[in-house]
Symmetry: C2
Subunit: 326 residues, 2 copies
DNA sequence: TAAATATTGTCACACGTTTGACATTTAGGC
DNA sequence: GCCTAAATGTCAAACGTGTGACAATATTTA
């Protein structure tokens, strides 16, 4: 491996000088700078970030913990996070925690071991204390962790309300909602509450199904089919994620239900992917770019100054993407 | 930050002993082991991997370079890679290189700087020499890089042939193919060749469009619409990726073309995602699990023994996923 | 030309861990 | 209680880089 001293030899200067050039400190002449840069280029030299971090500098590493990048929503989010962080000089260590608390715990431990400068967490199988124990700057996406850890999320309550209003407006009589497994600190609770509230204002009450987030699509299909073939079948379904909405549409087609005549369907997330490949789906779109930008901004603030004051919660507005399913 | 010497103090032993426990070398009694483990737990101690790697150990880091995890295919692949690598004790640094050679170059440099043990690359905007320059173990997904870098891919030629045969079998008269931008070392060339060959055997020749991989879906839609509204419009389209196939279906519906009566459509990739959410699409499925397992296996071999002999190319069979679009 | 300043070199220590050499203590077996 | 082996401690060097102190030049300024 080519190291600093090798560069020094080739450039014909002392190791200290090379270090000075790299870190741009002390006083340096143009000519030596050039000599050193040339030598670095010639040897394809990269300062060993292990060594520099060990020496006291930041690692410039950020840990990302999300359920799975195989999910298009998290895929899009992680992709944006990586791109923006990279542009700011940070590197990304990725963890797919799935719905496995043990894996998430292992992820945290390894991120600590790797001395990451901070963590952005979008998977939350764990309790508060495990995250606080790390002593690292953390930003949480869309789930309550603790007072000290800021949450960034879309306005779930507003999204739920808007979905409810759309249903009311469409003249839906038997509204339904499909959420993922309820957890005390889950954002879907807000979507649920907003939905209920908007419906209640119009004198409607919604029935509800719970389909665990990580359930296989096939099993979800089965349950949706049962839902849509039961006697008093719903004529409007709000799904708290777009993928489930797609499954509902799939079952509807299979059962020859006309959408939106027989059944209205609304999703949630509205990724660019969904907008491009399923423009027909009416959905509540999270401002994914802004969410990412904000999370990064907050995290970097925390990294720069550990005890800078941040709000406990940052809520960004959602937008209705009008398709043809309502 | 809690360090090895802190653990030693709490456990009431010498730092060396703690190190011995962690690395399980030298002779140790059960009781001291327990004491040390207890202290580690109590302090929530994690050995600083920077320091241990610097000292000579592996970093247990693998770099992943792919166009973007926002793409469901690469999302699925990266997700599997991370999961399997994590289980083997490796951590993952993620790079979305997009179609930007500069970003890819920057990724490589930073992976070198971070002393990764190896790289799995699925983005290939760069030439051979930039990868060889790294001096690192590398496995390439689906694209030729150089003699020394093994390629793992699905059997693109076979996939193309099967698509062609499906078209022939469906009685298609004016077959078409949509590929991404041709590059000399691109796998889509093989898909093209296989497709042409199968059609030729039946006395057919296909027309061809080229839609750059990273083109926005909206722009792709425009081009596809032009294709499907021209005088001699094709009655069978093979797309070298599933997403483009979805766009074709979308346009077909818009133009009220019956699929497969008026138009047969075949995709390529067949991720679990696609199989679940678009079971209607007939597609050529890459064995994504096997591809991932193989890539990891080969990479770890190379890491264990830098000059172990590996084949230049590993080709895994594809499978037709029969939907209703042919 | 002398003084002041800018540039570069030398040296040492630090970061946290691993590991080898060696010394010392403890335990077990007779 | 002696001998052997096992267990633990002490110490130092190493990994590659950063940085401060100080000395030695080279260059500029007066």
């Amino acid at each position: 491996m080519v190291k600093l001293t090798d560069v020094a030899k080739v450039a014909g200067v002392s190791p200290t000088t090379v270090s000075r050039v790299i870190n741009n400190y002390g006083s340096l002449s143009e000519t030596t700078k050039q000599k050193v840069f040339a030598a670095m280029q010639q040897l394809n030299y990269q300062p060993n970030s292990l060594a520099r971090s060990l020496q006291g500098k930041q690692t410039k590493l950020i840990g990302l913990i999300f359920p799975s990048v195989a999910n298009p929503f998290f895929g899009a989010m992680v992709s944006l996070l990586e791109t923006q962080l990279f542009a700011k000089g940070y590197r990304v260590m990725l963890c797919n925690a799935g719905d496995d608390p043990d894996k998430e715990r292992a992820c945290l431990r390894m991120l600590m071991a790797n001395q990451v400068d901070g963590i952005i967490a979008g998977a939350h199988n764990l309790g508060i204390q495990e995250y606080e124990q790390t002593g690292l700057p953390i930003i949480s996406f869309d789930r309550y962790l603790s007072k000290t850890i800021p949450i960034v999320s879309s306005d779930n309550a507003q999204g739920g309300r808007q979905a409810g209003q759309l249903m009311v407006h469409a003249g839906v009589k038997r509204p339904h909602i499909i959420t993922s497994w309820q957890q005390p600190n889950s954002p879907t609770n807000q979507r649920l509450a907003g939905y209920y509230a908007a419906l209640k204002a119009a004198g409607l009450t919604a029935s509800r199904s719970i389909l665990n987030f990580q359930l296989s699509p096939t099993l979800k299909l089965v349950q949706i089919k049962q839902l849509l073939t039961r006697a008093e079948r719903p004529d409007g379904i709000f799904c708290t994620d777009d993928l489930t909405a797609l499954l509902v549409l799939q079952v509807a087609q299979q059962l020859q239900l006309q959408v939106p005549t027989d059944l209205s369907v609304i999703g949630y997330d509205g990724t660019p992917f969904m907008q491009a490949y399923h423009p027909e789906l009416t959905t509540i779109s999270q401002p994914i770019d802004d969410l990412v930008t904000l999370m990064i901004d907050l995290l970097l603030q925390r990294i720069k100054n550990t005890d800078c004051h941040l709000e406990a919660q940052y809520t960004l507005p959602v937008k209705v993407i009008a398709g043809t399913t309502v």
